[in-house]
Structures are given as structure tokens and as C-alpha cells.
């Protein structure tokens, strides 16, 4: 508790005085502990601890434990189970301990019952059997949490009520009056008349100022929170409902009429009013508030810890008090709160050693001009498709960020609001529109009319469901069909899905369309894009006659998390428009002529084909068929046939892990099975997405070809020899790798702490339109991935490990890039991402450490 007192000066006028700007910054900084949270329809995987990335990973998870009450590593019981199952062995565990606390492992033996016991034996016993680490507890708490928990719950309930009312995406029959004036004004007007709060509180709410920042300052004053503590106090409010707070922050940053200042002002005003009503004005309140880091964290009693280890190691002995003190002194070198980090190190090391071992069996691809090339997204799911496709013929496969380097704002033929199809690290730079192909205007009009009719019918049905009067009529008129239809959707999901797709195609037959590439991009932009994209992925020749650029998306039913399965590099959207745009640019004659001057000669007979990989059903659909030259049609049909073979094999491989799939499915049966899952509206495991992701590999396919990487690695193609200045590698490490790290952290934290960082079970989710999901009917908004994205019951499907980045490039080039990019210094230097590299295939893997590059096999070296 601070003793310094800063006086808030009176605030007047429309421009902010120092108190207002200080509050503005304090609220923003307090919000820095929250996860970034996009609306669920464009779910973007992020590091929930992104606000802590300037800290070493160990410190970040410790700080998150204090501030959020969240766990940063897997529960020890799960690590111990992994040890029992052989996923981690004792040697790996001891090696990890040695890296963390070398002096402890090398310490002199300790006496138990007069007999010496080796230090490493005691430490190992503590790791395997010691008293469990207590769960972290959120240390910064609101006054009402400390003084009257019922008031804290009431503040939360009011906050959830008004926030969901204000942000309702048109789902509710009642619209919050005054929304057009902004959240603070609308709430201020209604709250003072809200009879769900006591009369005295309503009286208090009538006094709140017009401006939201003034309301927050007014309430902080009434609560007795000093200016020096206001950031921590606001943080206590935000971390009480981190889901809603994170979403409100996103809204505020995207021009909405609600922001964190107005949201926290509402909470503070309720808290002040309710506390005053229940407890009366008390000058002593503020002494109750304590900022994080000033209290004591939950801990295991040292005596208890030592006795437990002694009983395990020497059950027949009766250790003396001094012997227990000796054990305790040794064990204290590895605090209970840090044991999880040792386990994590061992868990990661086991996987990483095996990965590098497996890479030794990689083989080169076709030596001559390949029959065809396919460029897939770096997404870990592409690895399976590429591996199976390469088995079907002399094909070459490459990996590149799925937005294909075109950061576009895209409007489809159907119109509507454009989508930003690029990583969220970027703003779209070019507006692409889908228009009818020449001569296809009438067909396009028919498609649009069909789509409008289908959408209108669906809207009418759902409106009738929601209306007060029509449900009875609806039941009379459509009930006879709705029941059997629902049964068919459930029992015959596959047949229902294909029938519906046929019906949709019949009602709105797709018309040939093109992208407005030449209008959207200048010639210079197109040539720059082409050169950058081809150089970044190392595709400068030889080119096949067909080069397929495959974006990806995932087709699922009744799945609020659909965007989480789409392309992260395309902002949580399907990647087909980017593939079509990139192919159109690379097929341009003038662009190719320009590239010759840059040393990239694309043969005249090479055609870039746009396609889309549906990761739910393992199919690759060729797009823009009407643009494909007749000379390439037959070859393309062969490639498509092989893609079907590869997709079915991939379905069989994936089915082995999909809950409910019969074991031993043939490729054909597996293909049918995944099609059924994809259209099953009751399926909570449509696919496993990026579960299992653990590594990001940058280099030529010869590093990985022929190796089963288990769909766990992001693969970015790269040829160091054609990137002598390092620009391509710099781009790969500062953009695609950052996106991969976000995805990795999203899966990691959703698994290690599903309550704080995950979204809980899908089975109790209620969707709040345009916002996210609630668990049940109220409470906080659920962030992160649902449990069914990372686990099947108690069985973890995702193994939570931090990303390992492997790069094949000169080490001095990598050093140069790290030196000039803070983002890389933080990710590699703070242990969020492990980095290993080798200059060429003939050299050994070197690990990047704080003390320079060390041989990978030198496992004793501190990281």
C-alpha cells in the first residue's frame, strides 16, 4: 500500500487536464495485462500473455499468476502422468533441473536417518512425488471483494448486463436506448432509473459526471484510491472480468462507442455506490487495497515438503530435525512454484530431440523440373497434405504464409462489408473486388438472385422463431418438416450436407468471376509482390508447368469457432481470395517480363493455379477454372486426382485421433467420415485444427521431405543462397513466425489453464452475437480456445510446449537480424521461442543461447 498522496486537480472543460490524461494512460496500461480479443467471427489466435512478452517467460508466468491468478505451466499431476507414460524420462528431468539449478543437483549428499542420499535423488523425488504446487491466486483485488464479496458479484452482474445490452449485435428483441450517444451516456441515463439496484445507489448514480473519465475519477475518489494506486486498482477491476474487459478494449481500439475508460468507470461507480450503501462512507477503505507483488503468494510449507521427500526416498528412516532442515535447504533452491518450468523444459527437450533426430532421415525432392508444385500455407495442417501429396508423384511442395503476401481488403460478388485478408500485424493495403468474368454478367446475376433468395428464406425462418407471435404459426406450418429435418441433420449428417450443397449449387449456380487485380494494384506493386513472394519462399526455379497456390479454410457446421480453424495469416478468414489474387498477378505477362530482370525467369508454359484446401475434409478445390489454359487442363486433372488420393490418406491418418471415428478406416471410408463430421451440426470435434503445433521450420523442403512431422510443424520454405542480404529471412521471422508464435501460445495457454485462458466446454456455450461466447447464460465472456480444441475429455491432444524455430541459414545472418529487431530479441531472448539453426544441411544444429550459439547436443548448457 502506498503512503504517498497525490491530489487530483479539479477537471473542467472539454480538453483533458493532467488527471484525465493520467487516467487515460493508467487505464491503457492496466489493460495491457489482458489478452487481445477479436470478435469471435474473426477469431485470431494470440498470445494471451502478449502484454508480458518484454519479460522472460519465467517471470511473465509468475507475474500472470499474481495479476490474473492464472497458471503458466501444465498442472504437475499431468506432467507426472506424462513421466509415468514415458513421455518424459528421468534423465531428461534431471538434465532440465541441472540447467535451472546446477548447484543444487551438484550439492553434497544429505543425510536421512544417518545415511547419505544424493542431492539429485532428492530433487527428482520432489519433482515426482512432492507436495503439489498450490494454484496461483489473483493478488490484486477490488475493495468490494475484500469487504463484501456480494457487492463485487453485483458489480460484475451489472457490468455484464449493460455491456451485453450495449454490444448486442441485433439478436435481442429489445435494443438499449441511447446507444447512438455512446456507452457512458446511454448507461448513465438508464442506470439512475434501474430499480434492480437500491434507491441509495440510484441516488449516487444520478451524481455521476457527463464524461466517462470524470466518472472514473469521481468514483476512485469516493473509494479512496490514491492516484498512485489507480492503475493497479483499475487492473483489479479488469482482471475480475478479463473476458468482457478484453473485448471492450478491442472495441475501443476499433472506433466503437465503448472503451475501457467508460467500461471501468461504470464498474467503479457501481462499486462506490454499493459500498457506500452497505457500509457507509469509510475513510479506511483504501487501506484494504493491495497492489500485486506486495502480498505473499500461496506456498507449500518447507517442513512438509522435506518430510514428504524423506518419506519417499527413505521410508524406513526417521529423519531428525536437522536432517529435515538439510533436505529443506536443498529443495529451496528449486522453489515449488518453479518446478513446473523444469517439467516444461524436460517435456520440450524430449520432443525437440526426437524432432531433430527424425529430420536426419529427410530426403531431397525431384531433381528435374517437377510435374507440378503446390504452395500451401505454413499452417501445421498443410504438412500432412504435402507429405501425402509428395508420395503420389514427382511433385514439389512449398510453404508460405497463406495470405500469399497480398494484404487485401476483399469484397465478394455478394457485396457486404469487406474482409481484411491479411495478418493482423498489417493493415490491408489494396482493395480487391470480385466481379463477373467477361460475358458472365447474366450468370452472376442469377447466382446473386439465388443467394438472396436462400438468405431471405433463412432470415425469415429465424425472425419468425424470435418473434412474439409467429412461433405458433411457424410450428403449424413448418413444424412437420423441421423435426424430420433436424433428425436428418443429426443422423445422416454426411448425406444431408451433400444434399444441401447440391441444392445450394442448383439454386445459386456459381458464376465465373475474376478479381480486380489490375485496378487494385499498380504495376510496381504487382512486380514488387511477385518478387517478394517468390524470393521469400525460395521459388525462383525450376518452375513446373503448374504451380498451385493453395489457400485454406475449414467448413464446419454450428461452430462459433469456425474462424479459429480458418487461415490465421488471412485474419481468421478463408484464404481463397488471396490465392486467386496472387495467381492472377503471377500469371501477368508484364510482371513476368519484369521478373526476368530480377533473375527470376518463369517459363511461358508455367501457369499459376489458385486453389483452396479445406482442412475439415482434406480436399483441395481448384478455383478460377475458366482461366486455366486448355493446354494445362489434362495435366491439372492428373494433379487433382493425386490430390484426392493424398487427401483421403490424410483423412485416414487424422481419423485415428478424431473422437468417435471407427479405428482402421480405409482412406475412402475416412474421407466419407470427415465429410460427415464437417456437416454435423452436433459435432464438437469437427477437426483438431492446429492442436499439437510445436515447431516452425524455415528452410528448403529437403530439410523435412519424407519425414512424418505429425502435422505439428509450421513449414516456411526458404533458400538462404538467394537471400544474401537477409531481407527475406527478416520478413519470415518478424511476421509469419510471430503469427505462428501467437497460435502456439494460444494453444499453450488454453491447455495449461483452460479456466483463465481457455473458453471452457463448447457444450454449455451461448453465443453473444458479434462478440463471443458465454459459459451458460451470463458471467464473463470466454476467451481463448474451447476445451474441445485441445483435449478429448481428460486426454490432452495438444501437448503444450513453446515454439521451437529451426532455421537453415548462416548463423551470422540470424545474429544480425536479432540485433536489429526488438521483437526477435524478446521472443528468443526471453524464452518465448527457442531457436536453433545450422548454416547448411552438412552442419550440426546449434542452439541460440544468452551466451551465443552452442551445439544442440550440449544439453548441460544453460538456455
Amino acid at each position: 500500500m502506498s503512503t504517498a498522496v497525490e491530489t487530483r486537480e479539479p477537471v473542467t472543460g472539454t480538453d483533458a487536464g493532467p488527471a484525465r490524461t493520467r487516467l487515460l494512460t493508467d487505464v491503457r496500461l492496466a489493460g495491457g495485462v489482458l489478452a487481445q480479443a477479436w470478435p469471435i467471427e474473426t477469431f485470431i489466435a494470440v498470445n494471451p500473455l502478449g502484454g508480458f512478452e518484454d519479460l522472460p517467460f519465467d517471470q511473465a508466468v509468475s507475474r500472470a499468476g499474481e495479476v490474473l491468478g492464472a497458471r503458466g505451466t501444465l498442472d504437475e499431476s499431468l506432467f507426472r502422468r506424462a513421466h509415468e507414460e514415458g513421455r518424459i524420462n528421468s534423465e531428461e528431468l534431471l538434465a532440465a533441473t541441472r540447467r535451472r539449478v546446477p548447484a543444487a543437483v551438484a550439492a553434497d549428499p544429505v543425510l536421512i536417518g544417518g545415511q547419505p542420499v544424493a542431492a539429485d535423488e532428492l530433487i527428482l523425488s520432489d519433482l515426482l512425488n512432492g507436495e503439489p504446487a498450490p494454484a496461483p491466486v489473483r493478488a490484486e483485488r477490488m475493495l468490494s471483494e475484500l469487504l463484501s464479496p456480494g457487492i463485487a458479484a453485483e458489480v460484475d452482474a451489472q457490468a455484464a448486463k449493460w455491456t451485453s445490452a450495449f454490444l448486442d449485435g441485433g439478436q435481442a428483441g429489445w435494443t438499449m436506448p441511447g446507444r447512438e450517444d455512446g456507452f457512458h451516456a446511454a448507461w448513465r441515463d438508464l442506470a439512475a432509473r434501474d430499480r434492480t439496484v437500491p434507491k441509495a445507489v440510484r441516488e449516487s448514480l444520478r451524481q455521476i459526471p457527463e464524461r466517462s473519465d470524470d466518472t472514473a475519477l469521481w468514483a476512485l475518489e469516493r473509494l479512496g484510491i490514491e492516484t498512485v494506486d489507480q492503475r493497479a486498482y483499475v487492473r483489479a477491476h479488469l482482471t475480475r472480468m478479463p473476458g468482457w474487459a478484453a473485448h471492450v478494449r478491442w472495441r475501443g481500439e476499433h472506433g466503437s462507442a465503448i472503451d475501457l475508460v467508460s467500461w471501468v468507470a461504470m464498474r467503479l461507480a457501481y462499486e462506490a455506490g454499493l459500498l457506500e450503501d452497505e457500509l457507509g462512507r469509510s475513510s479506511g477503505w483504501s487501506t484494504e487495497f493491495q497492489a500485486a507483488g506486495t502480498g505473499s503468494a500461496p506456498a507449500v510449507a518447507p517442513d512438509l515438503r522435506a518430510a514428504r521427500v524423506a518419506a519417499e526416498v527413505a521410508p524406513a528412516s526417521e529423519p531428525s530435525a536437522s536432517e529435515l532442515a538439510g533436505i529443506s535447504s536443498l529443495l529451496e533452491q528449486l522453489p515449488v512454484s518453479e518446478r513446473g518450468l523444469v517439467w516444461l523444459d524436460a517435456y520440450e527437450t524430449h520432443y525437440r530431440n526426437r524432432l531433430l533426430h527424425n529430420l536426419e532421415s529427410a530426403s531431397a525432392g525431384p531433381a528435374e523440373r517437377p510435374a507440378a508444385q503446390i504452395v500451401c500455407c505454413i499452417d501445421a495442417r498443410s504438412e500432412g497434405l504435402r507429405r501425402h501429396f509428395e508420395k503420389t508423384g514427382p511433385y514439389e511442395t512449398l510453404g508460405f504464409a497463406g495470405f500469399f503476401a497480398v494484404a487485401i481488403s476483399y469484397q465478394s460478388l455478394a457485396g457486404g462489408a469487406p474482409d481484411s485478408l491479411c495478418p493482423v500485424l498489417l493493415e490491408p493495403s489494396n482493395q480487391i473486388t470480385e466481379i463477373p468474368a467477361g460475358g458472365a454478367e447474366a450468370l452472376a446475376e442469377r447466382q446473386l438472385a439465388g443467394q438472396r433468395a436462400l438468405a431471405g428464406a433463412e432470415d425469415s425462418f429465424h425472425s419468425a422463431e424470435a418473434d412474439l407471435a409467429t412461433p405458433f404459426v411457424l410450428a403449424e406450418t413448418t413444424g412437420w418438416a423441421a423435426g424430420p429435418l433436424a433428425a436428418a441433420k443429426t443422423l445422416f449428417a454426411g448425406s444431408y450436407g451433400s444434399t444441401r450443397a447440391r441444392f445450394t449449387r442448383s439454386a445459386a449456380p456459381p458464376a465465373p468471376t475474376v478479381m480486380t487485380v489490375e485496378q487494385a494494384f499498380t504495376f510496381e506493386e504487382r512486380t514488387m509482390f511477385a518478387e517478394v513472394a517468390l524470393t521469400m519462399m525460395g521459388l525462383t526455379g525450376p518452375f513446373g508447368r503448374l504451380v498451385i497456390l493453395s489457400g485454406h479454410g475449414s467448413t464446419t457446421e454450428n461452430n462459433p469457432y469456425e474462424a479459429a480453424l480458418d487461415c490465421g495469416a488471412c485474419g481468421g478468414n478463408r484464404g481463397a481470395p488471396n490465392a486467386r489474387t496472387a495467381a492472377a498477378i503471377l500469371n501477368g505477362r508484364e510482371v513476368r517480363e519484369h521478373l526476368v530482370g530480377k533473375g527470376i525467369e518463369i517459363p511461358d508454359d508455367t501457369w499459376f493455379v489458385a486453389a483452396e484446401h479445406d482442412t475439415a475434409v482434406d480436399t483441395v478445390t481448384v478455383l478460377d477454372r475458366h482461366l486455366i489454359p486448355e493446354s494445362h487442363v489434362e495435366e491439372l486433372s492428373h494433379v487433382e486426382r493425386d490430390l484426392v488420393t493424398a487427401g483421403s490418406a490424410l483423412s485416414a491418418e487424422r481419423s485415428r485421433l478424431l473422437p468417435g471415428a471407427r479405428s482402421g478406416l480405409s482412406p475412402a471410408d475416412a474421407a466419407r467420415h470427415v465429410r460427415g463430421r464437417s456437416t454435423d451440426w452436433a459435432q464438437v470435434f469437427p477437426e483438431w485444427g492446429l492442436a499439437g503445433n510445436a515447431a516452425f521450420i524455415v528452410g528448403p523442403r529437403s530439410m523435412t521431405r519424407g519425414v512424418d512431422l505429425g502435422r505439428r510443424t509450421f513449414l516456411h520454405s526458404y533458400e538462404a543462397a538467394i537471400d544474401t542480404g537477409g531481407e527475406a529471412l527478416e520478413t519470415i521471422l518478424t511476421a509469419p513466425m510471430v503469427v505462428a508464435q501467437w497460435i502456439n501460445c494460444q494453444y499453450y495457454f488454453s491447455t495449461v489453464d483452460p479456466v483463465n485462458f481457455g473458453a471452457g466446454s463448447k457444450t454449455v456455450h451461448n453465443v453473444v452475437g458479434g462478440v463471443g461466447v458465454l459459459a451458460g447464460h451470463g458471467g464473463d465472456l470466454q476467451l481463448g480456445l474451447p476445451w474441445q480444441s485441445v483435449a478429448d475429455g481428460n486426454r490432452l491432444i495438444h501437448e503444450p510446449m513453446r515454439l521451437l524455430t529451426l532455421v537453415q541459414a548462416p548463423l551470422e545472418r540470424i545474429d544480425m537480424l536479432i540485433e536489429r529487431n526488438t521483437v526477435l530479441q524478446e521472443l528468443f531472448g526471453n524464452g518465448w521461442v527457442a531457436l536453433a539453426a545450422r548454416g547448411s544441411a552438412d552442419e550440426q544444429w546449434m542452439r541460440h543461447t544468452h551466451h551465443g550459439w552452442k551445439a544442440w547436443n550440449d544439453q548441460e548448457e544453460a538456455k
Binding site: G17, R22, T25, R231, P423, E730, P736
Partner: protein
């Protein structure tokens, strides 16, 4: 050419922060009533943290941005009250200096 006595004295604030922090700076500028600002993205340079790369091809958030505004002296306290705690928590820097303008109505 006008002499300095014909010009109006104002305060000039330059801030260099990461692209991720730039919106916070713009928000403080706006809140204090600054009538405008200039921003230069992708700036490079050498600081106490070493050399900073300029523009990155596909990451606008990890590069440095310079934001410059000019305000009447009475608004400086509010600006500094908002900017200082922000810069205490990040690697950014702030420069405050006197400046002279010929069209004060543009800045008030």
C-alpha cells in the same frame, strides 16, 4: 522573412515509440486537444537498446514510429501527465522543446 518576434511560441513534443504503442500516443494527443500531429512510421536509428530496424515488410507493430505535435504551452502538463507513465513502461522516448509558428490558429 519574418523575424522570430512575429511568430507565436508553442511547445513541440516528439515521441518515438513502437508501432504497437503509437495508438496510445495518438489518443493522448487527441484527448489533450492537439489539433493535429505528424507521424512517421518505420523509423530506424540507434538508441540505448541498440540499432532499430526501419520498416518491416509484413509487421507494422514491431517497427518504431515517430509522432510529432505542436500545442500551446498550457496543454503541455496534460500531455506529459499522459505520456510519462506510458514511456516509463515502454522503450519509447519523448522530446519536449519550444518552437515558433507563424499560424497559431492552426494549433489552438
Amino acid at each position: 522573412m519574418k523575424s522570430r518576434s512575429d511568430l507565436s511560441q508553442m511547445a513541440r513534443i516528439e515521441v518515438v515509440v513502437s508501432g504497437a504503442d503509437a495508438p496510445a500516443v495518438r489518443e493522448i494527443f487527441k484527448a489533450t486537444g492537439a489539433t493535429g500531429f505528424t507521424s512517421v512510421s518505420g523509423v530506424s536509428g540507434l538508441g540505448h537498446g541498440g540499432y532499430h530496424q526501419g520498416r518491416l515488410l509484413f509487421n507494422d507493430q514491431a517497427t518504431l514510429e515517430m509522432l510529432i505535435t505542436v500545442v500551446p504551452a498550457e496543454k503541455v502538463d496534460a500531455l506529459v501527465a499522459g505520456l510519462r507513465p506510458l514511456l516509463d513502461e515502454s522503450s519509447g522516448v519523448m522530446f519536449l522543446s519550444d518552437t515558433f509558428v507563424s499560424r497559431p490558429d492552426y494549433f489552438t
